[in-house]
């Protein structure tokens, strides 16, 4: 970092913004280091607010992992809230990293996490506020290296033109490899960024988008993805996983914010992956295979994290916590902690089919919160199509048991617009919800708690890359609205509360989820028109997006509402995530004939991950 760059002064702004504690950067367990010349300065950027970013586990892991290295200093950046952004822009002060208030342009790396397609404009905004050229091609030698990773990097094409490097897969090991390589190469005389990018592309899991070019057919479909003269080979295009989670890095402390954030508590990641194989679920495919942490490891982690943060609550994180093989033992342990040290325990993402009454009762001893169930579809036929192995009886029994135990607050999640969905399936949602309601009313009054509240939420199905539904179309905006209004009109009982997501955001999300490289221009245009915080209902402006697509001669229909054929080259086909395309096709075919696939523990369906990505081979 050059000496001329001074820290950004914000003291005079803090009293003028809401929640100034967002910008202090001195939270418990935050890293503060003596800066020296040889240090690699890394800014971990989260393209959303402080409150959301601080709740992100991946950020917490990488932050502490990097800061445990002596010669790396990792700081944090979040999207400033509008009040702070306006002040900074008015005063012409650049965006800075929280810990030292160093302007972003002085960093060696800025790493963005791609959590959600609708946060992409915030990435551009952060770069812009940091006075860093947005497009990779416009950046100079002294500009930071922009590195992207996270779940959306499995199809990073729509944002590829802004990135120097994209990380495919889990970051704990690869991030250190990248930085160590940078340190080595940077020392060489006549160092140039291109040398580093070339060398980095040799690392497995690293994708350098500028080393590739895409050709298109006249009808807009991809003709070929080819490596350019800059390319050094293609070894990178395979996702990285950590094989043994017990040996993987996990911080024994995490940052404790001063203000309330979305998950203001200790989070224990109990396993990665999912045994279930729901056909719409991207996480279920990209995070394969299932890797569990041992009970002993989790107990130590829980103890250390509580000790080092002082948190009053602990929660479990995974895609489906009750699938953890030792879930009962783990919960008993947490309950012990609760009784001894008064620590609250929360257990999100329990599935209802293997949901035991005893388990609920144990949890209830700790804290009686609402229960959440996600049947996803209203009819058994459609649940078979999406491979959600939940039967109506399971839901109704669980609901009844819950009501008997005194729960009066139940949330039910569904999706609309799933492939093959008919009005009958939509009405099936209504019927199912009323059956749950009847379970409550069938109990004698003295056996149930008063004030029943059933919250029904529907989101719109968005086909995602690397899922069996990646070829499917998304229903039109009119159709989304029509199906939502069927439910609006039929879920009118006073105990039922119906929530639905704005269909317009789903359409834009859908375009970017399966978009190709040409969307970078649309993204830039939308940003120029003023789009940011698109994931927030009050900021999202659909008309601006429509305009951006129009002006760039692009089409939402083409990306969101078009069915792809099996032989089309998809924008993410050049990445290897371990799950074979043939398996995805097979699952798609089975969906069409409403045939279910058992979960991985009952029967391996040979998705392919175990051959290429684990040393175990065979069945996971």
């Amino acid at each position: 970092m050059s000496d001329q760059i001074k820290e950004v002064k914000i003291d005079d702004l803090l009293m003028k913004v809401e929640k100034p504690a967002r910008y202090l950067g001195n939270e418990m367990n935050s890293a503060h280091k003596e800066i020296n010349e040889d240090m690699v300065r890394f800014a971990f950027a989260f393209p959303d607010t402080y409150e959301i970013g601080m709740s992100h586990l991946g950020m917490q892991i990488l932050y502490h992992l990097l800061n445990e290295q002596q010669d790396i200093f990792c700081e944090r950046v979040f999207s400033p809230n509008t009040d702070m952004e306006n002040l900074l822009r008015r005063e012409e002060r650049p965006l800075f990293a929280l810990e030292t208030k160093t302007p972003l342009k002085a960093f060696d790396f800025i790493g963005f996490t791609l959590q959600y397609e609708l946060s992409y404009t915030n990435i551009l905004n952060i770069l812009d506020m940091g006075e860093i050229p947005l497009f990779q091609k416009d950046r100079e030698e002294e500009d930071p290296i922009i590195i992207l990773g996270g779940p959306c990097s499995y199809n990073p094409e729509p944002i590829a033109d802004f990135a120097d490097i994209i990380v495919l897969g889990e970051g704990e090991e690869i991030i250190l490899e990248v930085i160590n390589l940078y340190k080595k190469i940077k020392q060489k005389p006549n160092y140039q960024k291109a040398d580093f990018l070339l060398a980095a592309s040799e690392i497995e899991g690293i994708y350098v988008p500028s080393h590739f070019a895409v050709d298109y057919h006249a009808d807009g479909r991809i003709k070929e993805v080819r490596s350019t003269e800059k390319s050094g080979g293609e070894q990178g295009l395979k996702k990285r996983i950590i094989e043994d989670l017990d040996k993987a890095y996990y911080p024994d402390k995490i940052l404790v914010p001063y203000i309330d954030t979305v998950h203001n508590r200790v989070v224990l990641e109990i396993f990665r992956g999912c045994i279930r194989g729901c056909r719409f679920c991207q996480a279920g495919m990209i995070y394969r295979p299932v890797r569990e942490r041992s009970l002993e490891k989790l107990q130590t982690m829980a103890h250390d994290l509580l000790q080092n943060t002082g948190y009053e609550e602990i929660s479990l994180a995974s895609l489906s916590s009750s699938d953890y093989t030792e879930i009962e033992a783990l919960i008993h342990h947490l309950i012990e902690i609760n009784q001894k040290d008064h620590i609250g325990v929360s257990l999100p993402s329990l599935r209802l089919d293997n949901f035991s009454k005893e388990l609920i009762e144990e949890i209830q001893k700790v804290r009686k919160t609402g229960l959440t169930f996600a049947p996803e579809a209203g009819t058994q036929r459609l649940r078979d199509v999406i491979n959600k192995n939940i039967r109506e009886e399971d839901l109704l029994n669980s609901a009844k048991e819950a009501f008997e135990m005194g729960y009066n607050n139940i949330k039910l999640y569904f999706m609309i617009g799933l492939p093959t969905e008919t009005d009958e399936d939509i009405l099936g949602i209504k019927e199912l919800v009323y059956k749950v309601l009847n379970q409550y009313h069938s109990l004698p009054k003295e056996k149930r708690a008063g004030g029943l509240k059933i919250t029904v939420s529907t989101s719109t199905f968005v086909p995602k890359a690397f899922t069996p539904f990646q070829w499917e179309e998304q229903i039109s905006l009119e159709e989304i609205h029509r199906r939502q209004s069927i439910l609006k009109e039929s879920l009118t009982h006073r105990s039922i509360n119906y929530n639905y997501h704005d269909g317009k955001t789903s359409v834009v999300e859908g375009a970017f989820a399966r978009g190709d490289r040409r969307l970078s221009k649309v993204l830039y245009k939308a940003y120029s028109l003023g789009c940011k915080f698109d994931g927030w209902g009050d900021h999202f402006d659909y008309q601006k997006w429509v305009k951006a697509f129009e002006e760039e001669d692009s089409s939402l229909d083409f990306y969101s509402h078009r069915k792809r054929s099996y032989d089309e080259i998809l924008p993410w086909d050049h990445f290897d995530i371990g799950v074979n395309k043939s398996y995805l096709m097979q699952e798609n075919n089975k969906a069409k004939i409403e045939e279910v696939t058992p979960d991985c523990r009952l029967n391996c369906s040979a998705c392919g991950i175990n051959q290429k990505f684990t040393s175990r081979g065979g069945v996971c």
Binding site: L14, M15, P20, A21, L24, N26, E27, M28, V256, Y258, I259, D260, L306, Q307, N308, T309, G310, Y311, E312, D341, H342, G344, R367, K368
Partner: protein, 250 residues
């Protein structure tokens, strides 16, 4: 069981932490420091700790107080050391002692608080004498009225306001020092259930008064305060006519 009363400072960046967040910060720091705190009974047990009076965001303080119930008495010095070790910079336990748990709550004890208020003006070219005259003049006002929100009654839809005379709540106001462009005022204000005036409000009232004076002077630049820095010095109870801070008062 033992009740510990502690005094602490809240300065620097920590002035941006709201009262609610401060309470939670204490809970977490006490846990980290391994203090054997007593918990409330019931469904969501929480530490038994209470604070004197909330400090506004942006105000620094050298006189904040808490009462904390411990399951077991430990030496205050040991308590102080281990807690300070885990506190973020800006919060520091300064003093403390064990008190009888039958003592009045901090909240009901507070009667006064004093502050240093450093202000900067756009037009700072006045002499000290004139400024002191204004301070005196301000205090000579018979009534100093402020508009306050009335407590909303149940089901009442619109907010109602009332005018309150706060002159009796200002016990002292003097010019403490002038350093460069910073004019520092010292003030002692009634605080708590028997009447309450916040220093932020006092300075606004004073500014209003200055503007009125200014009109009489017929100067071009209107008076405008450009920055205010407030520091609370301490909280007091009046015991037999003497101001005692909340530790000395028990």
């Amino acid at each position: 069981m033992a009740m510990l009363r502690g005094k602490f400072s809240k300065t620097g960046d920590m002035k941006y932490i709201s009262h609610l967040d401060l309470v939670r910060l204490f809970h977490r720091v006490l846990r980290r420091a391994g203090i054997n705190i007593a918990y409330t009974q019931g469904f969501n047990p929480h530490p038994i700790i209470s604070f004197a009076t909330a400090l506004s965001l942006g105000v620094e303080s050298y006189g904040e107080y808490f009462d904390l119930k411990l399951n077991e008495e430990m030496s205050f010095t040991e308590f102080q050391q281990s807690v300070n070790q885990h506190m973020p910079r800006g919060i520091k336990i300064l003093d403390g002692k064990y008190i009888d748990s039958k003592e009045d709550s901090l909240m009901s004890m507070v009667e006064y608080s004093d502050y240093l208020i450093a202000v900067e003006f756009i037009d700072e070219n006045w002499d000290r004498e004139l400024f002191e005259q204004w301070v005196a003049g301000f205090l000579e006002e018979e009534r100093i009225m402020i508009t306050r929100k009335k407590k909303k009654k149940r089901r009442q839809r619109h907010q109602e306001y009332k005018e309150v005379d706060v002159r009796p709540l200002i016990k002292e106001l003097t010019l403490e020092s002038v350093r460069g462009e910073k004019w520092s005022l010292y003030t002692l204000l009634t605080t708590g259930s028997k009447g309450n005036l916040k220093p932020e409000d006092l300075i606004k009232l004073f500014e209003k008064y200055l503007k009125n004076q200014e009109q009489n002077r017929e100067k071009e630049n209107p008076i405008e305060i450009t920055s205010v820095e407030i520091t609370r010095k301490d909280l007091y109870q009046e015991v037999n006519g003497a101001m005692k801070n909340l530790i000395d008062a028990v």
